[in-house]
């Protein structure tokens, strides 16, 4: 199979929010027929896509894909086969991280800007046309002007989604939080004083939301760096998100 169709397939997998492992043959020692440096395979949803190499190669790679996906780190592996060995570079093909900014106010605007700067995909949601617009969010990938709950229903939330709740009032914070609390998002952060946060959480408990779910919420939001201005707060939120993304905590 040619490189172009492979890369088209890889791109579709990346954009389709499907987790996979891309394998590239980088070195061959000895005489292993049926394989050449630069050969590529993609494992996604348990299937192998790409030119099938010599017997035993596919199985050996399939065995290692869970480790690559779990660790989100590439692996350089030399696999011994009849006649020699094949060295493969296995890399996780995971959807890129996306930040959903709920609320287009001062903090939301700065979070969107800093998140984009850090290379994240950015979606902004606000129900007010005066706030959900291109002039205020020149770099955002998506701007959705809709009622929060309705907008969140249309969005696919995955383990690569980071949710930042910075709406204009606790009523909206509560709506947003209720809509995303049981989602597989990697991060849910909510702005607000301890009192405001407590109020929102208590209401959710009354509704029957489990304590374990509430514990996932990062509130007060952001790392404590004494941030005061909207931009400083955005930096502290992004610092927290980067920590979760890179260190898992």
């Amino acid at each position: 199979m040619d490189k172009l169709s492979f890369f088209r397939h890889l791109l579709a997998a990346l954009e389709g929010q499907e987790a996979g492992v891309a394998a590239t043959v980088v070195k061959i020692e000895g005489d292993v027929p049926g394989v050449a440096p630069g050969d590529r395979y993609l494992w996604s949803t348990g299937r192998c896509y790409g030119s099938l190499g010599p017997a035993g190669l596919e199985a050996a790679v399939a065995e290692r894909t869970p480790e690559v996906l779990a660790g989100r780190r590439p692996l350089l592996e030399t696999i011994d086969l009849e006649g020699g060995s094949v060295t493969l570079f296995l890399e996780p093909a995971l959807p890129g991280p996306e930040i959903i900014v709920l609320g287009g106010g001062h903090v939301g605007q700065q979070v969107a800007a800093v998140a984009k700067l850090a290379g994240y995909r950015v979606t902004v949601i606000d129900d007010r046309p005066d706030f959900a617009n291109r002039a205020l969010f020149p770099t955002a990938d998506r701007i959705i002007c809709k009622n929060f709950t309705a907008a969140l229903q249309d969005i696919k939330i995955t383990p690569a989604t980071f949710i930042v709740i910075v709406t204009r009032g606790h009523r909206y914070d509560y709506e947003c939080l209720r809509a995303v609390i049981a989602s597989p998002a990697a991060y849910i952060g909510m702005i607000g004083s301890r009192r405001r946060v407590r109020g929102v959480k208590e209401r959710l408990v009354e509704e029957g939301v489990g304590e374990d779910l509430l514990e996932r919420i990062h509130a007060p939001i952001g790392l404590d760096i004494g941030a005061e201005t909207p931009t400083e707060i955005a930096v502290s939120i992004m610092a927290e998100i980067i920590r979760v993304y890179r260190c898992g905590a």
Binding site: L4, F7, R8, L10, L11, A22, G38, R73, E91, P95
Partner: protein
């Protein structure tokens, strides 16, 4: 994996413009970027993405153009611990293995 980079590679291939995908496959010691970092180099020498900056990137770019001419992928061994690196004022040191893969054309 950076989908923007892959998207650009697909675009270049569709237009019939050859390019090279450089991927750091192994690092030893203190290198500027970790394994898995990628950069795209066009036949015109333009780059997209960064795998370290400075001299490392310049020599990878140069090597990539040779790979493009040759049409065969290779592992490029980059030693940043050498004296030349220090002479150039590079801060990192360390060794990088970079897989250079010609695409399309």
């Amino acid at each position: 994996m950076n989908s923007e980079l892959i998207e650009e590679a697909v675009k270049l291939m569709e237009r019939g413009e050859p390019c090279v995908l450089a991927t750091i496959i192994q690092v030893k010691g203190s290198a500027p970027r970790e394994a898995g970092t990628q950069m795209l180099i066009t036949a015109g020498g333009q780059t997209l993405g960064t795998i370290g900056g400075g001299c490392a990137e310049a020599s990878i770019r140069q090597r990539a153009l040779l790979v493009l001419e040759k049409g065969e992928p290779e592992i490029y061994h980059l030693d940043l611990t050498a004296d030349t690196a220090a002479d150039e004022g590079m801060v990192c040191g360390g060794i990088m293995e970079v897989f250079l893969e010609p695409l399309g054309g």
